[in-house]
Amino acid sequence: MIDCTRYRQAMLAQPHDADPALREHRESCRDCNLFTERLLRFESGLERALRVALPDAAGEVVPLRARSPPRRRSSI
C-alpha cells in the first residue's frame, strides 16, 4: 500500500497514470482525492497552454524542392 507522499509524487510526475495501486489509494484518501482534482484541473490548463496558436502559414509545408521556373511563352 502506498502512502500519501508517494502517491502525490507519482501523480505529479504522471497525472494520468492508471496504476491500480494509485487508484486504490486515491479512493481511500480524501486529501489525495482533492489533490488529484486540483492537479487534473491544472493539467488541463497546461495542455491548453502548450498548444500555442501558430502563425497563419504554420500548417503549410514549404515545398522541399524548388518549383520549376515558369515556362516562357513563345512569341509568335
Binding site: 504522471q14 486540483r38 491544472f42 497552454a49 502548450l50 501558430l54 503549410e60 509545408v61 522541399l64
Partner: protein
C-alpha cells in the same frame, strides 16, 4: 517511368507526413527555444534534413521521435552557428506575447509565462509528455536519461510550475 511514379508517390507521402506533423513540431521547437522565429527556422531545416535522410526512417510508426531527434540536433546546431545573447525572461515573454497570449484567458497567458521561466531540463520532458504524448520510456530514450530521472524531472517541473503560477500547493508533497 515506373521509378518516377514511385518517386512522386514517395515524395507526396513524405510531404503529407510533414504537413500533418508540422504544427506539433513547431510547437515543440517553440517551447524548446522560446523563440518563434528560431522555432520556424529549426523546423524548416529539420524538414530539409528529414527529406534527405528519409531512407533512414525504417519504421513509420516511429516518425515523431525521429523528427524530434532531428529538431533537437538542429536546435543545438543553431547555438553552434550563432552565439545568442543572454536575454531577460521578462523580455522574452514580452517578445513572444502574440503567440503566448493570443487573445486567450489570462490564466493561460500566466501559465505560458511560467513555462518560459521553467529551466530547460524540466520544460523539455514536460513538453514531450504533455504536448507530444510521449511515454516515460520514450522521453528517457529521446533525452538519454533513465526512466527514474525523467520521472524526477517531471515531478519537479510540475511542482515548480504550480508555485510559479501561484497555485494552492498546500497538499503538494516534499521533494
Amino acid at each position: 517511368m515506373k521509378d518516377q511514379v514511385g518517386g512522386n508517390h514517395k515524395r507526396a507521402r513524405f510531404q503529407a507526413l510533414c504537413q500533418s506533423l508540422r504544427p506539433d513540431l513547431l510547437r515543440f521547437a517553440f517551447w524548446l527555444s522560446r523563440d518563434r522565429a528560431l522555432a520556424e527556422d529549426v523546423v524548416q531545416e529539420t524538414m530539409l534534413r528529414a527529406w534527405k535522410a528519409q531512407d533512414s526512417l525504417l519504421d513509420e510508426a516511429a516518425v515523431k521521435p525521429w523528427f524530434l531527434t532531428i529538431i533537437r540536433r538542429e536546435y543545438a546546431r543553431s547555438f553552434e552557428r550563432k552565439r545568442f545573447a543572454t536575454v531577460d525572461i521578462d523580455e522574452l515573454v514580452a517578445q513572444e506575447e502574440p503567440m503566448l497570449a493570443a487573445a486567450e484567458e489570462q490564466n493561460l497567458a500566466e501559465l505560458r509565462a511560467a513555462l518560459f521561466r521553467l529551466p530547460d531540463e524540466y520544460r523539455e520532458p514536460l513538453v514531450l509528455q504533455v504536448l507530444m504524448g510521449f511515454s516515460t520510456a520514450e522521453i528517457a530514450r529521446e533525452l538519454g536519461l533513465s526512466g527514474a530521472a525523467v520521472l524526477t524531472r517531471l515531478f519537479r517541473a510540475r511542482k515548480q510550475l504550480r508555485v510559479l503560477c501561484g497555485e494552492d500547493t498546500s497538499l503538494d508533497p516534499p521533494e
